[in-house]
Amino acid sequence: MTTLMSASGAAAGDGPLLAVDNLTVRFPTADGLVHAVTELSYTVELGKTLGIVGESGSGKSVSSMAVLGLHDSRTARIAGSIRIAGEEVVGADQGTLRRIRGNVAAMIFQDALAALHPFKRIGKQLSEAYLVHHPQATKREARRRAIQMLDRVGIPQPERRVDDFSHQFSGGMRQRAMIAMGLINDPSLLIADEPTTALDVTVQAQILDLLQDLQREFNSGVVLITHDLGVVAEVADDVLVMYGGRGVEYGPCREILTHPEMPYTWGLLSSVPDVHADPNARLIPITGNPPSLLDPPAGCLFHPRCAHVHKVSGDLCRTVLPELVPGPRGSGHLKRCHLPDPESIYESEVLPEIAPDLAEVADVGREG
């Protein structure tokens, strides 16, 4: 089971496992200041999964690396607060950060072939992760723990494979090995940055199964970063949609995906075809390109690409940045948009185009 470490020594269950509050990350570059993440807030509880959805430039990876303090302190300018089990990470010294990394909070990355050292045996890499936080342990104990974890993640013949190199593993097994390495110290928080993007679909399903299994067993909190809404739909309890470095929609997964309230989320749902969709469903892209983080547009970040900007009176979208506030569906569902009645627009305009079969059902339901 996990043991939570808290600076104040407070009991587990005191407040959320991970609390990100108004996080802002900026990088000075030759071309100017890049606003990678701006005023981002979210929380994660033990035993729950938060899915962070976004495309390139949305800031999802940058914000997650900030949680473990992995940015170069000399170049990155980080403001706001990140608390893991009550302990503040922003501005913490290297010693605190190293104590947390791989121990209380662990991170696994997208491309396991690049993320695992190509010259070191898998067993050595796992043992190292263990020994860093258990300096009194012997090498034999660490090795035994490594074999144990490899077994736990479903790698066959772990005693033999523990001495292999990463290129001798298949893609799925490499990802499992990385998960084993991340979980070897029973962290309370696991951040998975696009863990299945580089994998085949059947392998992806296996890895997601594994992650869910392990979460249930260790009762850890999981942050799953992805661009794949389908993955989020199957695995996440809560969803945070990011765009241009800000959170634009946040709430329970079921809510967000069945009653989305922000045109960007509509755009994401419309751009992704469904394997069992109605053949009359359309694939509706989002026009334009992601916003420049050097010179973000004024007002709502999404307005240059929003197909519904005409439905908001006056110049609001172009001049005023909307706040991330609860929408018409209640306090659990936050959205950052000026549209007064997103629900009806979604159901009457968007849904009939992207999922005509669901729209009919909704119609029938409403009429009946």
């Binding site: 495309e55 390139s56 298949s170 893609g171 799925g172 097994m173 085949d200 679909v201 059947t202 992806q204 399903a205 296996q206 997601l208 199964d209 869910q212 661009h227 794949d228 809404l229 389908g230 993955v231 989020v232 739909a233 199957e234 695995v235 997964c253 079921r254 967000i256 995906l257 069945t258 994401l268 749902l269 751009s271 992704v272 075809p273 469904d274 394997v275 069992h276 969709a277 053949p279 009359n280 469903a281 359309r282 694939l283 509706i284 892209p285 989002i286 026009t287 334009g288 390109n289 992601p290 240059p304 929003c306 197909a307 519904h308 900007v309 005409h310 305009e349 968007v350 185009e353 669901l358």
Partner: protein
Amino acid sequence: MSAQEPEDLEGTEFGPPAPATVVDPAAPPPEFEELVASTHTAAQLDPTAPPVLSVRDLKMHFPLKSPLVRRTVGLVLAVDGISFEVPAGGSLGLVGESGCGKSTTGQLITRLYKPTHGSMMFEGQDLATVSRKQMKPLRRDVQMIFQDPYSSLNPRHTVGAIVATPLRTHKVVPNNQVLSRVQELLEVVGLNPEHYNRYPNEFSGGQRQRIGIARALALQPKLLVADEPVSALDVSIQAQVVNLLQDLQKEFGIAYLFIAHDLAIVRHVCPEVAVMYLGKIVEIADRESLYEHAHHPYTQALLSAVPDVKQAAIGGRRERIRLTGDVPSPINPPSGCRFRTRCPIAQEICARHEPPLVQIGPRHKVACHFAGELGHHPAQPVTSRLLAEDGAGRSDEAARLVAEVATDVGYADSWFDLGSQTVVSGARKVGGESPVPGGNLPPET
């Protein structure tokens, strides 16, 4: 290949670039109805279209050399006998996971490799056997777009040079018209035609992919092999590029061989899809038959593994078909059916005989001894008649006919109906009786 240096396109020949006035970045985005009107529903099948490409029994075996003596010690059976057709102006999707041979197939069609066996008939010529010299004019008609927009464009050539290279190599237009043609092409793919003097690194991933498409279009090909054209792009950009490809198909009548691992995108773009595993086609069918009535256990496993957004409404994970083990090596594939080592319904016959690709519907072929819809796989092998393994030892004429047709490219008018275990044709039955399912009664002729 002409020795033209692309650098001579800059400044001197085309003159200084015109001021950028064409596309206004401050213009408001289109309204939702306008946007919807510019999109497409899933591509429709045209059953009357003749095939523009007819591939028969295509094989690509790469030799494995021993380290010291350079002797061939084994073969990588990357592609091991596949047959399919691509209709003119239509699309065929080729899906599968890593190592199935789909990318190699794409490279064979464009003759980046020479196949070790088989034929690829394109407009009366066999692309598999023509010489390099004969291939050159054919390359105008068969083009390719690649997966990685970041590495498939030469970073030291301007965009104009990249798009102009095919025009110059094949001398399709006189030199003084090259620029205007390049600009036309850039416009067609949705890029600002005034940007021909820019370098690829000034464009985003989606835009680079459009540049690659413009280059492929330059020679007005009849067939475009798209090797994972959208996998490396963000989701919203994927939809833009897919839209573009559908626009181009409607406008220019280009046929696509769409190679991808994303079953959902392929379903939208291609009215017909083939599923590959370890160098072989295990199922090939029209959209509805494949996605709603898949008969091969591998197709069923693939479809069940694709994550579903609608699942959010239900909550939790769906019930999935879980495949065990890893994909075997193409150097030494399993005997008989290659999928048997991971197949949930494999039996003894699967190790002994490789299942033939049999037509089981008007536009549906499958290679499985126990082909059947999910949850309804037969207990007895359905191919026993075709292998002439009936209990009485009698040979089966009609079945042998079907087996012959099975190796033929394209769809025939008669097929092997699984339910009745007889050969049927259109609406008529060839035999008279409807025998017991799973039985081996010969039809009456």
